[in-house]
Amino acid sequence: MTNSAIIEQPMETATELPNSRMAIWWFLASEVAIFGGLIVAYVLVRLHHPEWGEYASHTINAAGAINTMVLLTSSLAVVLAHQAVEEGKLEKASKLLLTTVAFGLVFLAIKAYEYTHELHAGFTPVTNLFWSFYYLMTGLHGLHVVGGMIAMIAVSRSVRRGEHSARVECVGMYWHLVDIVWIFLFPLLYLAS
């Protein structure tokens, strides 16, 4: 199957974009609007409360940094999966997607460790507004990670069968967006203290 020529030819459209990629762009736009609105709200409230710098120093910088690294690497894996599809190596693409899922699991495990540690230290979502924002933003992001992992498992199964190979790119675009969101959450919630 490795060299098979079963690469989906997208339906011809009036623009050069296939329908799926176009729709994903708009979907990503709506996601950016949601996260963007949340980040804007957080930045505004935080600027009003300079004392939050002290709260932010209780987040675990090392864990956040490792997680940033994990997500960056997973992004590389998923973009390589897309490249493998273009070269017709569907088996490889499927494996790379599962690698990405594994990275997602590592991310969630580290996140779970952080939550446990913070809750034990007495920082709950209602301790103060900083922690409310912290749990809301990382929690929402974590849900997106979970969603992306589920989608990637499904796509990796279908692409192994040679079906819907165009979906690799779509799920990859979504995963990169999740990565971008984390790129901003990391300095917002961890580094700026």
Binding site: T15, E16, L17, W25, W26, L28, A29, V32, A33, G36, G37, V40, A41, V43, L44, V45, L47, H48, G53, N61, A65, T68, M69, L72, T73, S75, L76, V79, L80, H82, Q83, E86, G172, M173, H176, L177, D179, I180, I183, F184, F186, P187, L191, A192, S193
Partner: protein, 98 residues
Amino acid sequence: MSETTEHRSNYFMVFGILVAALAISLALAAVSTGPIVVAAIFAIATVKAYLVLTHFIHLNVEPRFIKVLVIGLLAVLTVLYIGLVPDIVWVFGRMEGA
């Protein structure tokens, strides 16, 4: 297949730059927490996001209206931010905590 080659030219290089940028921002954060350093960290984050957007999500090869969409979206969020600064950050013109 010219578009495809353009796609894949430099994924590892982009990844290397991203990791280096992460290292720089961590080093900066370790050195100081002053406003200039924080600004630099966010500038680096923006560069990282830009690299992922252009090279991993392939904005660089998309038609123009997708680029317009991205710019428009950022403009919308900027407007939201600017419009809310006087009320939420400065809390000008009303009693606070009343």
